[in-house]
C-alpha cells in the first residue's frame, strides 16, 4: 500500500518541462542503453567483443536525463557509463556494436575500443581513459563558447573516484574563475572500481562546488526526469552567463567495474536495495501511467537492437594496412551538431 502511493507520487513527479513524448523518449533511450549493453555482454562472452567490456546497468537515468536537456549545438564529453547519451545524440545501435567488436563500421573504425568513442559529427568527444581529463576538455569547450559570445553549453560526466585527481580541481577552479557555461555531472555510483567512497574523500564532493564559486546540487540519479530537470536548469544558468553547475547524481553501479569483476567487495544487500530503485522500472511506470504501451516499446527496442547486431556482425574487421594511416590531420576536423530531441528546443528554437 505504502509502495503503491509512493509509486503514484513517483509517476507524478514528472518535470513540467517534459511532454508525454519526451517522457517516452527518455524511457526509450534508457531501454536502448540497457538492451545494447546486455546484448553486447553476450557478444563479449561469445568472444566477439575483444578487450574488456564496461556497462552502466542501473545508471541509465544519469546519462539519459542529462543528455535530454542538451541542444544540438551543445557539446558532450561522454564517459564510460553513459551510453544513453550517445543514443540520444543519434549514434545507431549497429555502429555501437561495431565499435565494441572493433569492426570497420564502428564509431572509431576499430582504432578505439568499447566505451572509448564519441561521434564528432554529433557534437561528442571520445573520452580518454585518464580520469577525469574530460572535465578539463569540457571546460575548454565552454571557454570557446564564452570567447565567441555564443549561447551554448558543454557537459561532461565523471565518477566519484575521478574526483580525487588533480584535473577535477583544475577544471572546477578554472570554470569557476572564468564563469564558464559548463555542466559537471558527478556520477556517484558508490564505488570506484573496488574503492568505496570513504577511501576517496572525507566529505561529499558536491560540497566543493561552493568553494569554487558555483552551485552544487544532489539529484536522485535513478530518476531520469529529475536528472533532466536539474540539467535543464543548469543549462539555463550556463547559457544565461551564470556559470558552471555541479550536479551530483546519486546512483549505484549494479554490475562489476568491467566484465571480469565479480564485485565480491559489494555487500549483497546494497545491490538488492538499489535493484528496487531501478531507473527503468521507475520511468516505465510513469509512461504506463500515461497510457503508453511499454511492452510494445520494449519489443520495438529489442527488434532494433537485434537488427543492429546483425548489421554490425556483417561489417568487416578493419584492414591492418590502414593501421598507420591518418596519425595527423591534413585539414581541420572539428565537432558538429548532434540531435537534441527535447521538445523544448523544438518549441522555442534550438537554443531554448
Amino acid at each position: 500500500m505504502a509502495t503503491e502511493t509512493a509509486r503514484i507520487a513517483e509517476a507524478a513527479s514528472a518535470s513540467e518541462h517534459l511532454t508525454a513524448e519526451d517522457r517516452v523518449g527518455l524511457l526509450r533511450a534508457m531501454l536502448m542503453m540497457r538492451a545494447i549493453e546486455e546484448r553486447a555482454m553476450t557478444l563479449y562472452r561469445q568472444g566477439k567483443v575483444p578487450g574488456s567490456f564496461y556497462d552502466g546497468y542501473g545508471q541509465e537515468a544519469v546519462s539519459a536525463g542529462a543528455a535530454w536537456a542538451m541542444a544540438p549545438q551543445d557539446r558532450l564529453c561522454i564517459l564510460h557509463r553513459d551510453l544513453a547519451a550517445h543514443v540520444i545524440r543519434g549514434v545507431t545501435p549497429a555502429r555501437i556494436f561495431a565499435q565494441y567488436m572493433g569492426r570497420e563500421g564502428g564509431v572509431t573504425n576499430g582504432r578505439e575500443g568499447n566505451v572509448h568513442f564519441g561521434d564528432r559529427h554529433l557534437g561528442c568527444v571520445g573520452m580518454v581513459s585518464m580520469l577525469p581529463d574530460m572535465m578539463v576538455i569540457a571546460t575548454g569547450l565552454a571557454m570557446a563558447f564564452k570567447l565567441r559570445g555564443e549561447a551554448r553549453c558543454a557537459i561532461t560526466w565523471f565518477g566519484d573516484g575521478s574526483t580525487s585527481r588533480g584535473d577535477f580541481h583544475e577544471a572546477m577552479n578554472w570554470a569557476g574563475v572564468q564563469k564558464l557555461p559548463v555542466i559537471f555531472v558527478l556520477e556517484n555510483n558508490q564505488y570506484a572500481y573496488s574503492t568505496p567512497l570513504d577511501q576517496q574523500f572525507a566529505v561529499d564532493p558536491v560540497e566543493r562546488a561552493a568553494a569554487y564559486g558555483f552551485p552544487g546540487r544532489t539529484v536522485d540519479g535513478n530518476d531520469a526526469e529529475a536528472m533532466f530537470d536539474a540539467t535543464r536548469e543548469a543549462r539555463e544558468r550556463a547559457i544565461g552567463g551564470g556559470g558552471p553547475t555541479l550536479i551530483e547524481a546519486v546512483t549505484m553501479r549494479m554490475h562489476g567495474h568491467a566484465a571480469h569483476d565479480d564485485m565480491k567487495y559489494v555487500p549483497k544487500e546494497q545491490v538488492e536495495e538499489w535493484r528496487a530503485k531501478d531507473p527503468i522500472d521507475r520511468q516505465a511506470r510513469r509512461v504506463e501511467e500515461l497510457g503508453h504501451d511499454v511492452n510494445a516499446l520494449r519489443a520495438e527496442v529489442k527488434a532494433e537492437v537485434e537488427a543492429g547486431v546483425e548489421e554490425a556482425l556483417a561489417m568487416p574487421m578493419p584492414d591492418g594496412d590502414g593501421a598507420t594511416a591518418q596519425l595527423f590531420a591534413d585539414e581541420p576536423a572539428l565537432l558538429s551538431d548532434g540531435r537534441g530531441p527535447w521538445s523544448g528546443f523544438a518549441r522555442s528554437g534550438s537554443d531554448a
Binding site: R103, T108, H116, S129, Y193, S194, M317, P318
Partner: protein, 321 residues
C-alpha cells in the same frame, strides 16, 4: 625449485620483502581488498593489513608524491599504477621530484614504481603503452624490464633494495603466459643484461615481452646461430654486454615494442653506431612499433606490434646481407 608465473614471481618478491622488512609496503588503486586489477597483490591485505597494503584515492600524482615523502623517513613504498599508461598523470612527481632529488639535495628517494605495460590483447591506446623511454630520458631514475619469472622476482627485489627511484616495467602480456623456475627466498638479479641464447652469426637485442618474440623468431632460422640478448635493465644500460655481443656476431637486430622514435632501441642503436661501428658487417636493423597509438581492433594491433614474422624477416635479410 617451484615453477611460478611471471605474475606470481612479482607477487612473491613483494611478499618476501614485506615479510622481511616492515619498511616495505605497497600502495595503489584497488590493490587492497580487490588485490589489484591484475591480482598481483591478491591476499596481501589479509597477511599484511590495510596499512601496508594501501588502497589509495584515484590520484597518480598523489601516489608517487606521497611515496616519495614517505621514503624520506626510511619507508620503502612500492607504488602500483593500475596500467603503465596512467603514469602520465604522475609524471611530474616522478621525473622532477623523485628523479632529481638526490642529485640536487643529497636526499635519496627509495621508491619502486610498478608499471603494468605493453599490448597484445586489445587494450587499446590507453592500456597498451610502453613508456620506458620517457624515463630513460629522465636523469635520476633507474628503469628495469624483466622478461622471465626468475628475473621478475630478482629485479623487483633489487629495485626495492635500491635506495634510488626504480621504474619497474612489468609486461601484462607475460603475467600468465610466462612460467619458470623461481628460486625461493630473497635474491637480487643485477641490473645488467643477460644472454637469453648464445649465438655466433647475429645478435637480436630485446627486453620484456619482445625477448620471447626474439627467441621464437630465431629458434630455428635456416640453421643460423642467433644470439638473443635480454637487456633486463634499461637504466643502467649494460653497454659492455651489448658491445661484446655485437663484436662477436657483427650483425644486430634491435626490437622495441615501444614506438620507434627515441625508443630504448634508438639508444642501443646509437651506442652501437658510436662504439662498435668497426665491428659491424651490416647496418643496424630495428624492428619497432611505428609511431602511432596502439589501436584496439586485433588486425590493427597486430599490424603495429612487432610480430614473430617481422623479426624473422629482419633477421633473414640481415643474415643475407
Amino acid at each position: 625449485m617451484p615453477k611460478l608465473t611471471y605474475l606470481q614471481a612479482i607477487s612473491d618478491a613483494m611478499r618476501e620483502e614485506m615479510r622481511a622488512d616492515e619498511d616495505v609496503f605497497v600502495m595503489g588503486e584497488d590493490i587492497g581488498v580487490f588485490g589489484g586489477a591484475f591480482k598481483v597483490t591478491d591476499g596481501f591485505i589479509d597477511e599484511f593489513g590495510p596499512q601496508r597494503v594501501m588502497d589509495t584515492p584515484l590520484a597518480e600524482s598523489g601516489i608517487i608524491g606521497t611515496a616519495i615523502g614517505a621514503s624520506f623517513e626510511g619507508l620503502k613504498p612500492i607504488c602500483e599504477m593500475q596500467f603503465s599508461d596512467f603514469i602520465a598523470c604522475g609524471f611530474d612527481q616522478l621525473v622532477n621530484v623523485a628523479g632529481k632529488m638526490f642529485y640536487r639535495q643529497g636526499l635519496s628517494v627509495n621508491i619502486t614504481v610498478r608499471l603494468p605495460s605493453g599490448g597484445g590483447f586489445s587494450g587499446g591506446p590507453f592500456h597498451s603503452q610502453n613508456p620506458e623511454a620517457w624515463f630513460m630520458h629522465s636523469p635520476g631514475l633507474k628503469v628495469v624490464a624483466p622478461s622471465t619469472a626468475e628475473d621478475a622476482k630478482g629485479l623487483l627485489i633489487k629495485a626495492i633494495h635500491d635506495p634510488n627511484p626504480v621504474v619497474f616495467m612489468e609486461h601484462k602480456h607475460l603475467y600468465r603466459r610466462v612460467k619458470g623456475e623461481v628460486p625461493a627466498g630473497r635474491y637480487e638479479t643485477p641490473f645488467t643484461a643477460r644472454i637469453a641464447r648464445e649465438g655466433e652469426d647475429l645478435t637480436v637485442i630485446a627486453y620484456g615481452a619482445m625477448v620471447h618474440t626474439a627467441l621464437e623468431a630465431t629458434e630455428n632460422i635456416d640453421g643460423a646461430s642467433i644470439e638473443v640478448l635480454d637487456l633486463r635493465s634499461l637504466v643502467p644500460l649494460d653497454e659492455e654486454a651489448i658491445l661484446a655481443s655485437v663484436r662477436k656476431t657483427s650483425k644486430v637486430v634491435i626490437i622495441d615494442e615501444a614506438n620507434r622514435t627515441c625508443a630504448a632501441g634508438a639508444q642501443v642503436a646509437a651506442i652501437i653506431a658510436e662504439k662498435a661501428w668497426e665491428d659491424l658487417d651490416g647496418p643496424v636493423v630495428r624492428v619497432a612499433t611505428p609511431d602511432v597509438p596502439i589501436p584496439f581492433s586485433p588486425p590493427l594491433e597486430q599490424a603495429v606490434l612487432p610480430q614473430v614474422d617481422d623479426v624473422k624477416e629482419a633477421v633473414r635479410e640481415l643474415l643475407a646481407y
